[in-house]
Symmetry: C2
Subunit: 362 residues, 2 copies
């Protein structure tokens, strides 16, 4: 069993992230960690299953397991899907000692993780992130959720996994649009907490576009380290962790306005990041040169830096529903240098509108 | 603000149980504990609301609050109801800083507690148990759940409340059948962990039937202390806490067979307790005199000690679905004296069948 790197996350129940692991070796790890007497529930979706399931199952010969498929996409993250998973889990005899293996991207991780957190009041689960977004971001930090007609990720839990098992080889088959979702979060992590990572991204722009594996290993590792550091200090999102929402208040408004179709999460985040940078500059937190670097890197990696034909007032209004806000007050995360961000609680509607206008084209 | 007694529960997040508190005083407690800037979501059902809501609201003048009603009965404990609560909570502007007040019996506590545990990944909640069952049992220990077509309490969480606020005066308006549900758990607590409480119940049988308030204060306090002791030692039900399932493996099978109609939880538990006592005697754990005392007290408090016309094999089969079982093995809790119980992992189907036969009449 070879693993490039192992990162410990401190949480109510601490866990490890295994980087550069092989799907085939997860079984061996589980045998050592919990023994082979546990029934496993592999939750995945058909496309991911087609690519990686055989490799994973190769290592699970010692276990009794069942495979549950869920539909791909945000539609899968629903209470209905959760209820269906519950029925299937009972039907295949899953008990309190069963362990969930979440094989897939952010949707699978969120849904399977939330399912694990509430099935029989909680059974262990392992994150096996197969997308760049999941590897650098969503598999870390123990947040799980499903969507609800009244809001995205409205229902969920803080539920740390038993382990995060990251096999970089899955990135090679990932569509470019999926890569971009992860790159947007990577730029975000660099801006809010790692100036060196930002430089690394600037220096290797072409290799990133060319999908050079070693560069991805490096950016994935550095990016998730930013997240690990933040969530280790603030597991339940009481303070510091809010920094990870850089670009997201704006981005979520765009996603909500588009009803999560026609705009990816990564596109929302990258436009949101640019809006946040403009607002930060207007407040004198960063200078024009820093805005330009964020703008250039984002654009240079093929991510959108503006959106067409939206109404700023509609988007402003949609930001109000954000669950991080207290008593209707808008809380924004803004960079105050490249590599550092802060929580701003007194942002006025006018300045937010101006930031929106800067990223909206006719 | 007057409280008869305050009991501390040690948990991931420790909390207090306030005994002999007044509904009118909860607001004052909350102002001191968290301040009055939090929005409150009172979750109750219409009948409970009619009796107690005005008294509770009298103390909440300093707060902004909304009242959400859910249907009474186990039917209310569903994912559909949870989804409806979510929509209503969003509609009245509940955010991450809102606090849920669960005013009612076990169903309200389970549903509102589970809702609080997953709405926006968890908001605080206060248990305000208004039934004897909720006061002596379900409001303590941080277990929340909803039912699912595939099983009762199949979906839930461990989520300690901010506080448990117990006003004994609510017991005076409670229907006798509801009192019985609480008495069944009280006898169970006495058998598994408090020989003195058992004696107290034997000595005050008539006062209990006559609903003498002071006797209820005493039995409620002693009964919940048994539970507090057990759950403080085992928050997540890894070991010791299983003792609280005394009578429940049998009882749940009866409830499931009756599809939760025609048999109350208390009736299931009391018949289950008798079955467990017979099985314990067959194993030589307790003697005939002890079985007789358990039988007499249960019957003397008007609780059923047998059930008519059931098929033991069907009930045996229904016990297998219990989520406390590991790898299909049946785990039973049996008394080994009045005041002490143990976990039995090697119970055979034949002896369980014999115990069923002893409580089934033609």
């Amino acid at each position: 069993m070879r693993v490039n790197q192992q990162i410990e996350v401190s949480a109510t129940h601490p866990y490890s992230i295994f980087l550069g692991a092989s799907l085939e070796d997860l079984g061996e790890f589980l045998e050592q960690k919990i023994g082979s007497s546990h029934h496993l529930l592999v939750i995945t979706h058909p496309t991911v299953g087609e690519y990686y399931l055989q490799r994973l199952l190769k290592g699970l010969l010692a276990f009794q397991y069942d495979i549950l498929y869920v539909p791909a996409g945000e539609e899968g993250k629903s209470l209905e899907q959760l209820s269906a998973l519950t029925s299937e889990a009972v039907a295949c005899g899953a008990d309190r000692h069963s362990v969930v293996l979440a094989l897939g991207g952010g949707v699978i991780g969120d849904l399977a993780g939330f399912f694990a957190s509430i099935y029989m009041r909680g059974i262990p689960f392992v994150q096996i992130p197969t997308t760049l977004l999941a590897q650098v971001d969503s598999s870390i930090g123990g947040k799980t959720a499903v969507n609800h007609p009244a809001g995205k990720n409205l229902i969920g839990s803080f539920y740390p996994p038993l382990a995060v098992w990251t096999d970089f080889s899955t990135l090679q088959t990932l569509p470019w649009e999926e890569i971009q979702n992860g790159l947007a979060e990577t730029i975000k992590h660099a801006v809010l907490g790692d100036a060196e990572l930002f430089l690394f991204l600037e220096d290797h722009r072409q290799e990133i576009l060319d999908r050079v594996p070693e560069i991805y290993r490096e950016l994935t590792t550095r990016s998730l380290q930013v997240k690990v550091k933040v969530v280790s200090e603030d597991e339940k999102e009481k303070g510091q962790r809010m920094l990870l929402n850089l670009g997201h208040s704006f981005g979520h408004a765009l996603e909500t306005e588009a009803v999560y179709r026609g705009i990816t999460h990564g596109q929302g985040v990258s436009i949101g990041l640019i809006a946040a940078a403009y607002l930060a500059k207007a407040r004198g937190l960063i200078n024009a040169g820093e805005v330009q670097r964020i703008f250039s890197l984002t654009k240079g990696l093929g991510l959108p830096v503006s959106v067409q034909g939206k109404d700023p007032n509609t988007l402003l209004h949609l930001m109000e529903a954000d669950k991080k806000n207290k008593n209707g007050q808008k809380i924004l995360i803004l960079p105050d240098s490249i590599g550092h961000a802060l929580v701003v609680r007194d942002a006025q509607d006018e300045e937010i509108l101006k930031a929106w206008e800067k990223v909206i084209t006719e």
